[in-house]
Symmetry: C2
Subunit: 246 residues, 2 copies
DNA sequence: CGCTCGCTTGATCTCCTTCAAGGACAGTGG
DNA sequence: CCACTGTCCTTGAAGGAGATCAAGCGAGCG
């Protein structure tokens, strides 16, 4: 059984080299583990969290509800990722964090992280970097939703989730779990569920990718990348098996 | 004459309390000052900058060029702001930073900032927070460009720039400089210049705001806020004169 | 067995894009 | 001093990507 701290340490290691001593220090952090049912808000708009969340299993998303009740999803979070590091230094949540499917979460107190930050410059650097990579992803989502036509947007999102899943070792045989509904994807891309559905069907017909029943299968990665014009460099990951295909 | 370091220290102070000693340390940082003509790239995609930029005068923007040559603007930066703090801990630029109009810039070496970060936890916290607020702004731009109809988007952008200008003391008598072209705004909102123009005309007719000749005049702030459904809390600013009108 | 949730399909509508051109203004050079 | 040129703003007409409205379908589940 991998501990919460070790999960976080591994995640940080995807962004840069974490010296063994620092890895150990992060891995040794004490955490509370909690299971949450799907559709549960883990953090809410206005909250002042005192803990950092680590996803152990399941899938989370960050969202806001607009004036007319429209949901905009701003991020998805796979297992091993840490969705709320920004709460360390920002006063309050200006969005919500919720479980897409039943999830197991680790909670590490801010106090413990602050100690790591004070005492371990290398770990601090990677924690900080993680928040900066988050920002880079937000920028990419901004570009995607502002510019690209629906079929490129959709392909781009699938590319991103696939690469991120691969980075944490969740891809097997060209497949990974992606238990979203089409409505989730629609709300992420700023499209309607109807149009997302039609776009998805068109994408299926290209033979590049299949996504059905919560499982994503990439049948033709070069083709999918081409459709989306996907360039993973904004994820700032260390090289992995897919790296050659960037 | 206010130094580059002091400008940065003041900017950081808008996000939280910077103790006098830390303020002094930041203010004492050595910097190079350079004037750049308009349309000049200050940092380019792929660069590994060794300096942090501080805007002393003028206006900068961060942008990428899409596959079909389409420009997407991701941020604007007013005087006193620090556009590139993220380069401290991220390997390379995945976008460009350029001058919208002739600008005077300060450059502070990363090495000096690293010392501040190592030695002054309070300054470090505000530097980090600044990068997190940037991320919060990216999220808001994502929401805006994904969801909102053109007139709300435009009003929202004008609200944001006005509040940010106010935060750094650049608003006088309901006016501030905003020397953008309509094409800049279009590329920020993900609209065409033509439609931006028409939308702007409609917005003028509401009597809430005027923006012409590079100057923004807010004639009816409550009305403008209402049109945009603007809530400035995502900017995470300390209270200012406009704060009551959040 | 009925019910809900998620997926799918069809028809119509609209906001925004695209294409095209004209006009105001400032800077530049003869 | 005036033509010339480029930049930015403005206007018109037509076309399209995606939204909206409405309904049916299949599967899991209490």
């Amino acid at each position: 059984m991998i501990s919460v701290g070790e999960t976080l340490a591994r995640h940080l290691s995807t962004f840069g080299k974490l010296p063994a001593k620092d890895f150990g220090a992060v891995a040794a952090l004490k955490a509370e583990v909690r299971d949450v049912p799907r559709h549960t808000d883990v953090l809410r708009n206005g909250d002042h969290p005192a803990h950092v969340v680590v996803v152990l299993s399941g899938l989370l998303h960050r969202y806001t509800i607009g004036p007319e009740g429209k949901r905009q999803i701003q991020s998805f979070f796979l297992p091993n990722e840490a969705p709320s590091l920004e709460t360390l230094y920002i006063n309050y949540m200006d969005n919500n964090l919720a479980a897409v499917v039943p999830a197991r979460l680790g909670f590490i107190s801010h106090d413990q992280i602050y100690r790591i930050i004070d005492e371990r410059p290398e770990a601090r650097k990677l924690l900080w970097r993680q928040t900066l990579v988050q920002a880079a992803i937000f920028r990419q989502w901004l570009v995607r939703n502002s510019n690209l036509p629906a079929h490129m947007s959709l392909a781009h999102l699938l590319c991103e989730m696939f690469v991120r899943a691969d980075a944490v070792g969740l891809v097997n045989d060209g497949r990974c779990a992606l238990p979203l509904t089409q409505e989730h994807v629609a709300d992420a891309l700023g499209l309607t569920a109807v149009h997302t559905n039609r776009t998805l069907q068109a994408l299926r017909e290209t033979g590049a990718v299949e996504w059905r029943g919560g499982e994503l299968t990439v049948q033709d990665w070069p083709k999918l990348r081409e459709i989306a014009r996907f360039d993973s460099s904004y994820l700032h990951l260390r090289p992995t098996k897919l790296a050659h295909a960037r």
